[in-house]
């Protein structure tokens, strides 16, 4: 043991590498801060007077609105699938995750079609209520709220389902025995017990809402991300965009901190004894019908109808010979860029995750934190930071794929790192030490001992990052090289021209390849501590 630690104490290029990676990844955040503070005072004043109150109000109310509805929906759905036994329950358990496979901008564009004046929804509504009835415009708070809710409720569902599944029956029985009614038990025992996962789900949803660009941009709802994009594409000066970016980053950061804090606050532990989980209650026909109808509605709105529409449009486009001419090259561009981003991310993420797990010194953990900054850098912000950074210091790389790849890395490495970290943590360090003591060098040990063991986790990380890069919109829109349209960009461009047919084939493709990953999320351990 001592021999090994002495050898490890020798010079290793790994920390240096980790340091430089972390610096590169954290640089955009630092740069945004810097450029926001170097913007003229009058720009700050102008923004406070004209834009910021409105943006804060819109962003916060949207987050709250979506938070509340996803909470209600997610918990109700999780409650049904864990507490009741009804026909098709297994299928529903899985089906309810599928909405995660639809990117927010695809759902948004479907709903701009469905909710359009004189559209099918309005017609049916008028048939029901009377010819003067109007449904709400998709280009409003209501539209953004609806789309974001349908897009994110599965997160809350997944988290509350996991905690309900591992729910110890004894607590509820104790409440019953003490004379509590059924609702009292739910309100005072069951809900508080799953609170940590509710909070975690809520924050996940909120962070998602705050940093989403795709849906709000198509629905033209003024939140921070959309305003930043508008400032970047509509003004010659990026000062205002950087200021708004800094505010958004602070906002996201606060959410992240709050989430950590809540999680620390509300830990519940199983105290001794074994966990008895509750057997699901069988339902009567009427009851089962009610549950199935409720789930069908949600599923149809969030996944079924959108996907059927996409299929219909794709079919029409195919029959009419109306497929975009560059469809194959868009697939190639998307696949290649995302594949490269994911591969590089795994390669550079490995030392960061490895060092943080094996030698959790203050510096190594700091590097890891540096890499996690991407969490609080929504797409337009990452794009803005890289854009200004590159134009001022490395102008010859602007307009090449390098800058776009870097944007993907900054943005998506956190998601991958999490998976990689937990994969490495599951490998017992003793195995590595045994290999080292038998004479293998550190690098060989990693390659022949650790790597085969973490391959599964790394693959998951790769797939996650690949898919997120594939769906990425704002940074790709702003930074794509000439002639390098990706599937996501095509969807957005066609959808903003309301060319529904043309947008459908790439959208359908992205949804299809996202489905396995959404289902993969079912298997993930969603236990909150």
């Amino acid at each position: 043991m001592t021999a090994i630690s002495r050898r490890q104490a020798g010079f290793s290029p790994l920390p240096l590498f980790a340091f430089s990676i972390a610096t590169i990844l954290a640089l955009p955040l630092l740069y945004v801060t810097y450029s926001a503070f170097s913007a003229k005072g009058e720009v700050w004043g102008r923004l406070w007077a004209t834009r910021i109150p409105e943006l804060l109000f819109n962003t916060i109310t949207l987050a709250i609105g979506v938070g509340i509805t996803t909470l209600v929906l997610g918990v109700a759905l999780a409650w049904f699938v864990t507490r009741y036994e009804f026909p098709g329950k297994r299928i529903w358990e899985w089906a309810l995750v599928l909405p995660l496979a639809i990117p927010s901008y695809v759902l948004a564009y479907i709903y701009t079609y469905l909710l359009e004046t004189g559209g099918s929804l309005e017609q049916s509504w008028q048939w029901l209520i009377g010819s003067d009835a109007q449904i709400f415009s998709p280009y409003s708070y209501g539209g953004a709220w609806l789309v974001m809710t349908l897009n994110t409720f599965p997160y809350v569902y997944l988290l509350s389902r996991a905690s309900l599944q591992n729910f110890n029956l004894s607590f509820e029985e104790a409440a019953h025995a003490s004379g509590a009614t059924r609702w009292q038990t739910i309100y005072r025992v069951s809900l508080p017990l799953i609170r940590p996962s509710l909070v975690a789900g809520l924050f996940l949803v909120t962070l998602y809402v705050v940093s989403d660009f795709g849906a709000v941009s198509l629905l033209r709802f003024q939140t921070f991300t959309y305003a930043i994009y508008q400032q970047m594409t509509g003004r010659y000066d990026y000062g205002a965009a950087s200021i708004l970016s800094l505010l958004l980053v602070l906002f996201a950061f606060l959410f992240l901190i709050a989430e950590r804090w809540f999680r620390q606050q509300s830990r519940f532990f199983q105290t001794g004894g074994h966990i008895r989980t509750r057997a699901a209650t069988p339902c009567g026909t009427l009851h089962a019908l009610g549950i199935t109808a409720f789930m069908s509605c949600i599923f149809a709105a969030a996944f079924g109808v959108p996907v059927l529409l996409l299929m219909q449009w794709t079919w029409d486009a195919w029959v009419d010979g109306n497929m975009a001419s560059g469809f194959l090259s868009h697939i190639w561009n998307s696949t290649m860029l995302s594949g490269m981003a994911a591969t590089i991310a795994v390669v550079i993420g490995t030392p960061l995750a490895y060092l943080a797990c094996r030698k959790p010194t203050r510096f190594n953990l700091l590097y890891l934190q540096g890499a996690y900054t991407g969490y609080v850098l929504p797409g337009p912000v990452a794009a803005l930071a890289l854009l200004t950074l590159f134009t001022q210091h490395l102008p010859f790389l602007y307009g090449t794929a390098v800058i776009l790849l870097l944007a993907y890395l900054v943005h998506f490495l956190p998601a991958g790192l999490q998976a990689m970290e937990s994969a490495i943590q599951q490998v017992n360090p003793n195995i590595e030490e045994a290999s080292r003591s038998l004479g293998r060098k550190a690098l060989n040990t990693f390659r022949y001992v650790t790597f085969p063991l973490v391959r599964g986790g790394f693959t998951v990380a790769w797939i996650l990052m690949f898919l997120q890069a594939m769906k990425e919109l704002p940074a790709t829109l702003l930074l794509r090289p000439v002639g390098f349209d990706t599937l996501a960009v095509r969807i957005w461009l066609e959808a903003s021209e309301e060319l529904y047919q043309l947008a459908a084939p790439p959208a359908l493709l992205i949804v299809m390849i996202s489905i396995p990953v959404a289902l993969l999320l079912m298997k993930k351990n969603w236990q909150t501590p």
Binding site: R46, A49, T50, R51, T117, G118, S137, Y139, S140, R220, Q222, Q230, M232, T233, G234, R235, Y236, Y238, M336, G339, M340, T343, L387, F390, T391, P395, F396, Y398, G399, T400, A401, V402, R447, Y448, L477, L478, R480, P481, V482, G483, F484, L493, S496, E497, E498, L499
Partner: protein
């Protein structure tokens, strides 16, 4: 155990090949789009409108075109940021103000094109031909003929009158044509009246703010609102699909001494750092030729700038109205003050 390492090694060779493959692609990626005989076009005009024209040019000349579309302002920012490394050869936009701005930033090359002075009037090009107008469009009021009488609105400023509350549709503040229109109004009428106008249309429009002109025309045709502010050609494009739609354009401010219609131009310029000037010149010559003008302007129901190319008979003849005497080039200088006005008025 002895077999295993060998297996692993062959796998690592495979791995190395994969990495090598990626490295190769990585290096080539920027180069892919830099093939020799091609022209890179940055276009603020929507792909749907510009691509057919460029395809025709490509078929005719064999010069390959690479197209990057985006907002005009964003593309100016990009060309400026890319500096001497830019891949852009040609810049096409929907707004003369943006072109003039690019010229001021020295992003566009002065061009010598024989006989251009006989084809394009000087009001529609930069003095050194660093940008050249290709088509004209006017900003008009489209109204529902069943809901209002044309004599109820004689000036564009009238639509800000509180009596039209809930009856007006407007584009988002991000649209370059709105910005150009507001610039012209402020140049003629002053900031104060412009700001009152903006606040008026904001209050009148309420939720009827649209991202696309087509949606505004559609809302007017369906009677959701009585009128809207649009580029003229969207009216005719809509009428081409729905011949019996109750919509018509309203030409305003036409009495002698009044402001006149607000006209803007689309145009083209060759990027300073372009290495394909000869090909770029060919594209310009094609676009200002009669067939090119027909494709680019006429087919889109805009006003061709080539005086021999006839305007679509459905449009009000160009000679039947007068336009605001604000030089297109001045739009560039008015841009920033206009943006502040718009932001202050609360238009989104």
């Amino acid at each position: 155990m002895t077999v295993l390492p060998a297996f692993r090694i062959s796998q690592s060779v495979q791995m190395r090949r994969v990495i090598f493959f990626f490295v190769i692609i990585f290096v080539m990626l920027p180069a892919i789009s830099m093939a020799a005989d091609q022209l890179v076009v940055y276009s603020g005009r929507a792909e749907r409108l510009i691509k057919p024209v460029l395809d025709t040019f490509q078929d005719k000349t064999g010069i390959q075109i690479q197209l990057l579309t985006g907002s005009s302002t964003q593309l100016v920012n990009r060309i400026q940021a890319e500096g001497p490394h830019t891949q852009a050869d040609v810049f096409i936009t929907n707004d003369a103000g943006t072109l003039e701005r690019a010229r001021e930033l020295q992003l566009l090359k002065p061009m010598k094109i024989d006989g251009i002075e006989h084809i394009i009037p000087s009001a529609f090009r930069a003095p050194d031909n660093s940008w050249i107008g290709l088509s004209g469009r006017i900003w008009v009021i489209v109204y529902n003929t069943k809901m209002i009488q044309p004599d109820q609105v004689t000036s564009i400023l009238d639509v800000a009158d509180p009596k039209w509350k809930g009856k007006l549709a407007i584009p988002t503040a991000n649209s370059e044509y709105l910005q150009a229109g507001v610039s012209v109004i402020s140049a003629v009428k002053g900031d104060e009246r412009t700001e009152a106008f903006l606040k008026g249309i904001r209050d009148n429009a309420g939720n009827f703010i649209y991202g696309k002109n087509r949606q505004i025309v559609d809302a007017v045709a369906k009677g959701k609102v009585a009128m809207g502010l649009v580029n003229h050609y969207y009216i005719y494009r809509y009428l081409a699909e729905h011949a019996d739609a109750p919509i018509a354009p309203l030409l305003t401010d036409q009495k002698t001494g009044e402001m006149g219609m607000i006209m803007n131009a689309t145009g083209i310029g060759v990027v300073t750092h372009s290495k394909h000037t000869a090909e770029a010149k060919k594209l310009i010559q094609f676009l200002i030729s009669q067939p090119g003008q027909h494709m680019f302007a006429d087919r889109n129901k805009e006003y061709p700038i080539h005086h021999e190319v006839k305007t679509d008979p459905a449009l009000p003849p160009r000679k039947s109205f007068h336009v605001a005497q604000v030089p297109l080039a001045q739009l560039a200088k008015l841009r920033e003050p206009t943006m502040l006005l718009i932001e202050r008025s609360g238009l989104r």
